[in-house]
Subunit: 221 residues, 2 copies
């Protein structure tokens, strides 16, 4: 596939990209040009950070053996918390959208070793703690940029239970822990508007109005 790095994705509008960026978990095994990974990571570097500290590092793993090892560890963690969800999904009252999400998450776990790029986002700690908050705006830029250039991506943190072991493999010290894994590749499915509450349920002027429970707010957890 011929790709012009300078022009790819440049035509899509900001609002269009924002409205049609959804987690894409079903990914083809085909490789992704490194220049394209560089382009989406560059978008990440434009995110804001406190004091403009830019604490981020991006480690793109494409080596097949490393990806297989990461996928094995990922599945160990994933299987622990997917079982309750699988059980809950047997209830016919379980929401279809949630069931579709769960099935896509299971697909990703089972195929993670085939996803061509495992992009880890890491960052300097601050006062001894990971600066996850400082990395999330950069991650959101990356997810939007993936959408723009035609890549599928999703934000995961399930590698966290094995983070130290994975970070050793990535050459990351305790001063620069990884906080997210973004599996990236060419999507099998399509982009589309993700299911969301209307902004009119979330936005208030001057003062928050408590809503009644029957108005379908997400429960506090």
């Amino acid at each position: 596939m011929e790709i012009d790095i300078d022009t790819i994705g440049e035509e899509i509008g900001l609002f269009e990209a924002i409205r049609t960026t959804r987690a894409i978990r079903r990914i083809k095994p085909d490789p992704v040009p490194p220049e394209l990974i560089r382009k989406v990571c560059e978008a990440g570097t434009f995110a804001p950070s406190g004091g403009n500290r830019q604490p981020w590092f991006f480690i793109a793993v494409t080596d097949a053996d490393k990806r297989a090892h990461i996928a094995k560890l990922y599945r160990q963690t994933f299987s622990r918390y997917i079982e309750p969800a699988r059980k809950a999904a047997e209830d016919p009252a379980y929401q279809d959208a949630k069931r579709r999400n769960m099935n896509a998450a299971i697909w990703l776990a089972e195929h993670l070793h085939e996803v061509p790029v495992h992009l880890f986002v890491a960052g300097w700690t601050r006062r001894g703690r990971p600066q996850s908050q400082a990395l999330l705006p950069a991650i959101q830029n990356i997810l939007l940029a993936c959408r723009a250039v035609g890549l599928g991506a999703s934000l995961t943190t399930s590698h966290g239970a094995h983070q130290r072991e994975i970070d050793d493999m990535l050459g990351l010290s305790e001063e620069t822990p990884s906080i997210a894994l973004i599996p990236i590749g060419w999507p099998i499915g399509k982009y589309g508007k993700p299911p969301r509450r209307s902004v009119d349920e979330c936005l208030f002027f001057e003062r928050y109005q408590e809503r009644k429970a029957d108005q379908d707010l997400p429960p506090p957890q």
Copy 2:
């Protein structure tokens, strides 16, 4: 000013918006149409969140008395941590970019009561703790959307020291604490590429390579 809510900001490209969104802290006192605040908050709702829980609430404060009170509390916190920075900035070796940032932050603190919209982002707690991480991608979408429609905005957390008092005023309970304040309005200055490290200093394939201290990495703090 005539504004067409459906078309405003729709022409700007995603990458162009990402590359030219910087913290805009010098803001005119002119009012902002509520429909425009709704549009940028709607962009926020398309962000991802764990389990699609969408824990966010947006409270847009435009009332002058409330803004004056918020600004007073903001300045109390701000003045405590700006003094060391002011002192450090007297050193001629202090970076110009940092000095400019500091001066803009001081300007914002001194004029916050005049900034027409104080947008607070709040969210459901999870296991008793604020879900800041779940709100940052939504905040990033909002900052990008502000850029697209021509508004200036920046991400602040200095209201945090008085968060309980402010949340009481906003009608927010301990179950939905505010975690950020985004002052929004028409910019006095211009958009532009923010100063950032090159992506080539942040992106690694397969394995992170420790860099030498003379390569101008931000120090761990």
